[in-house]
Symmetry: C2
Subunit: 550 residues, 2 copies
């Protein structure tokens, strides 16, 4: 059999460590800005790899991280997968019960955890769920008071060799793991093989992906637990670019300062982040002269944001993807012939989910199982396939049957495609609400509401919100003799026991009946159309974002 060597992450690190030894990795921390170069990084990746071995962590163990965006977290991005283990990034914004389930399901042997997230981890701590975890490593140089069996990161790696003979791994080896919240049931794990990470990295480097080069300064604001910060730490390494990590809970001011001082050229995050920056810039002067591109994903990029940044000389790259897609599928770059269009017409295109990057194939399937024409009107479910798109969930055969067919991933997004090939999401087949780039399961909230004796039927939908893109609103059909005023309080308390504050509906409305489809199912489409009005939730969302609230 001819064929080259396996596709793994190793060459990316090897190359940049050797060709760009002085390129910096910058990290905002509680103690100010920290920086070191790729030579140091190479050593600081070797040390934890040696430490994991010495700690008797299995050679192909899953190792969890429970961290914000910083250099130590980035060190785990290579030390774990390149030593043959599996990097399992855990979303600390999830309900406790989900975190328990995820750690239990993944059987993580060790967890790296941020000092600021220790409390959340303790509250999620459940002896059964965490029984596989032999060691907690706190991302700092000291361990705060904790009930967990923890050591600090610097002590964990100290004294270990700064070289590691990175093995030749099979490209089919599992290298990453990320859970995605579904509509029903438990979160589903998506494994990333070495090959998936390799192919995704190469695709993002291309000019039709993110086009990252060695002259770039890359700052992922999107959390590193969100599908590896959309793969940017790997892409920036492969390109030999400078990395900037904004640390825990960066404010708009922090983000502005990092862009200015580190001369960031490309950054990425959910719309809420950029709305925040624009708001901050209303009262403050920020030098964006270094900034070339903002990648916006996770939720639809508002056209106003695209326009405002365009006026400031910054291109917004609206990207679409999924946890199942490693995650990038499409990027709304303009085609060459559109360069002469009016700004308005350009922003219209840039607001779409965009063009699939080279390597991905898609089709749009209507209710009759037929492909829809690319006319911008007809719509159907988007199916995708490609080398970095998974073809199964981790140990969830029943979910596989639902979401995959003949190698295609059925995305659950309902889209139209215009005659230029740009995709637009028009609806979701799945009941999820996206608040500030984070998923809220409407079905979970509904089940919790209907568990109350005063509730006959309940349904939860997302309504548009200026800052968070969507916020949940509950529609409740009370049983007879229920007092609407008192039950509202009770219901919110009930939900608050199991779910974080940012999951709670901003409004509970009482109705006589939930609209039904012909087959008797809740028809959320009707409710969504009727309540497609941001005034319903205006000023009612929690002030703190999901991120800041933790």
């Amino acid at each position: 059999m001819p064929g080259g060597t396996d596709q793994t992450l190793r060459p990316f690190l090897w190359r940049t460590e050797r060709l760009y030894p002085d390129t910096e990795i910058v990290s905002r921390t509680a103690d100010g800005i920290k920086r070191y170069d790729y030579t140091d990084y190479g050593k600081r990746v070797a040390q934890p790899a040696n430490a994991l071995e010495d700690a008797d962590i299995t050679s192909d163990a899953r190792v969890g991280t429970f961290c914000w965006n910083h250099a130590r977290h980035f060190e785990t991005y290579f030390s774990i997968p390149s030593s043959g283990r599996q990097l399992h990034t855990i979303n600390p914004l999830l309900p406790d019960e989900h975190i328990q389930y995820i750690v239990e399901n993944a059987v993580d042997e060790l967890l790296f955890v941020d000092p600021s997230l220790l409390g959340k981890l303790e509250s999620s701590h459940d002896a059964d769920a965490f029984s596989s975890v032999e060691q907690f490593v706190v991302m700092g140089d000291a361990v705060p008071e904790t009930t967990l069996n923890a050591v600090d990161y610097e002590s964990f790696i100290e004294g270990h060799a700064t070289e590691y003979d990175w093995p030749s791994l099979s490209e089919e080896k599992s290298a990453g793991l990320c859970y995605t919240s579904g509509t029903t049931g438990k979160p589903k794990g998506v494994e990333y093989t070495q090959k998936m990470l390799w192919t995704h990295t190469m695709a993002t480097l291309t000019p039709q992906g993110l086009g990252i080069d060695d002259s770039d300064v890359v700052m992922p604001v999107v959390p590193m637990f969100h599908v590896n910060a959309w793969g940017m730490p790997f892409s920036a390494t492969a390109a030999g670019a400078k990395h900037v990590y904004p640390g825990p809970s960066p404010t708009p001011e922090d983000i502005a300062q990092l862009i200015e001082e580190e001369r960031v050229t490309i950054t990425a995050g959910v719309p809420t982040v950029w709305l925040g920056l624009l708001e901050y810039m209303e009262d403050n002067t920020v030098d964006l002269s270094s900034l070339e591109e903002i990648v916006i994903g996770g939720s639809a990029a508002p056209k106003s944001v695209i326009k405002k940044f365009d006026d400031l000389g910054v291109d917004v790259l609206h990207a679409w993807g999924m946890t199942e897609m490693s995650p990038i599928g499409s990027v709304a770059r303009l085609k060459p012939e559109m360069e002469d269009w009016s700004p308005d017409r350009q922003h219209e295109k840039q607001g779409k989910q965009g063009l699939m990057v080279p390597g991905v194939e898609f089709r749009v399937i209507d209710e009759n199982g037929e492909e829809v024409p690319w006319n911008g009107d007809d719509f159907g479910e988007l199916w995708v396939r490609g080398p970095w798109i998974t073809t199964e969930y981790f140990e969830r055969p029943e979910a596989n049957e639902e979401d995959f067919e003949d190698g295609w991933l059925k995305t659950g997004d309902v889209v139209s495609v215009d005659s230029d090939g740009y995709i637009t999401i028009v609806d979701r087949t799945k009941d999820v609400i996206k608040s500030g780039g984070e998923w809220i399961s409407s079905v979970e909230l509904e089940n919790a509401l209907m568990a109350h004796t005063g509730v006959a039927e309940a349904t939860v939908i997302g309504v548009p919100h200026d800052r968070w893109q969507e916020r949940p609103v509950a529609f409740v059909v009370p049983t007879d003799n229920t007092d609407e005023e008192s039950i509202t309080e009770e219901l919110l308390e009930l939900l608050g026991e199991d779910y974080p504050k940012w999951w709670l509906p901003d409004e509970i409305l009482f109705i006589d009946e939930v609209p039904k489809t012909a087959t008797g199912k809740f028809s959320k489409k009707d409710l969504r159309e009727e309540y497609n009005d941001s005034s319903l939730v205006e000023g009612k969302a929690p002030e703190e974002s999901a991120r800041e609230s933790e």
Copy 2:
């Protein structure tokens, strides 16, 4: 096992056919410029795929091409591999005997051949060697008089469906085949799997590869039988770029005209081509305003060429690769901090073989098997590995033993690496001469010379040549009583029987003894140092290039 769908060429064609239906493919032909768009291309790729099936060509057959750079040849780049077959591009500049061997060794079932190359194919024709070939298809709409069983391309595809249900192929399937002339013995075949072509394509798209985008107009002057024109037809397709094919034997005027009229942005070829263009520009005004990059490979790019194009506002990208590497390994792009350097210092760097692209690993091994330091002085043999670098030759186990070790390809190039990581070729461990980007085997010539009774010893080296980069010079130790004057004619006649005119040494020098190494081998290094002087062959090379002479 998690993991995405296989890495094949199919999505590249699918995407561009759908997203860039109006983008053009332009071809210079004997009847002038022909052009069509990707919609047409998609149909014209489906038709031959259907025709191959109807002609009962085995579903995984090897199918040869014996063609220059034009749209019909480009059609075979997808119709053959995407239908599951193997695209075998044959170099028509090789000695007849090599061509016979190659077709016999590959067992090609069908050969696509240019009208202008029919004569060469007929002269190479040997009933045994070509016995596997069931059909010759002439790349035109009529068949010139020929002894071969031939049909013209348009008749071959006419009436066949313009759609084809491209199968889901394994990424391990052989998709391409190209032979490389070695130092001794027969040419060696290098197979390209679907995955190798996919990974090479993605690597060339990255900004540190060739950085091809949908706004580019790509013109490969490098022949399509040279490692798939360095992969550019695949890269341009994946990017949705416009293609320009310069047809058979383009003159500098043809090249200039195509750049001007088609607004070429990126082109590629061996140094001789660009020397020719610069020479032409001494007496003619050429508008190079569209041109951004010239990729120079095959032989070292002279610094004067880099400087002259830089003065004209065109970046020369010096690239290095091998048939075994699909072929691109390194590209001499400047690092960001070098942008401020003086032009002279920049050209120095750009004249090196450059930086390995993301995905490739290398090491430089000295005589003691140790890695040499990156100091620009120490040198050793360059070893490389990566997903698009082969790990074996086609059916040549004895050659495998020599050229591969632990997944590394031993390139035979002796290099130093400077402290910035730029590679410079300082010598070859293998005895080959590169004339105008084509290989001449010195060992074959030596053996042929020594077959003459008047020759005691003979050795052939390449000496520098302004236009062809290297030209062969023979050193002959005559036997006693040999008349040097008469034997010179005899030897050239002898070589002329088996080898093309451009292989013949420009000079035969008589010496008393061939310098030997300590172990008694011919020491060409000494001769190369002594005769490192282009005046030796100045004005003596055949006027026509290898390409033009055919």
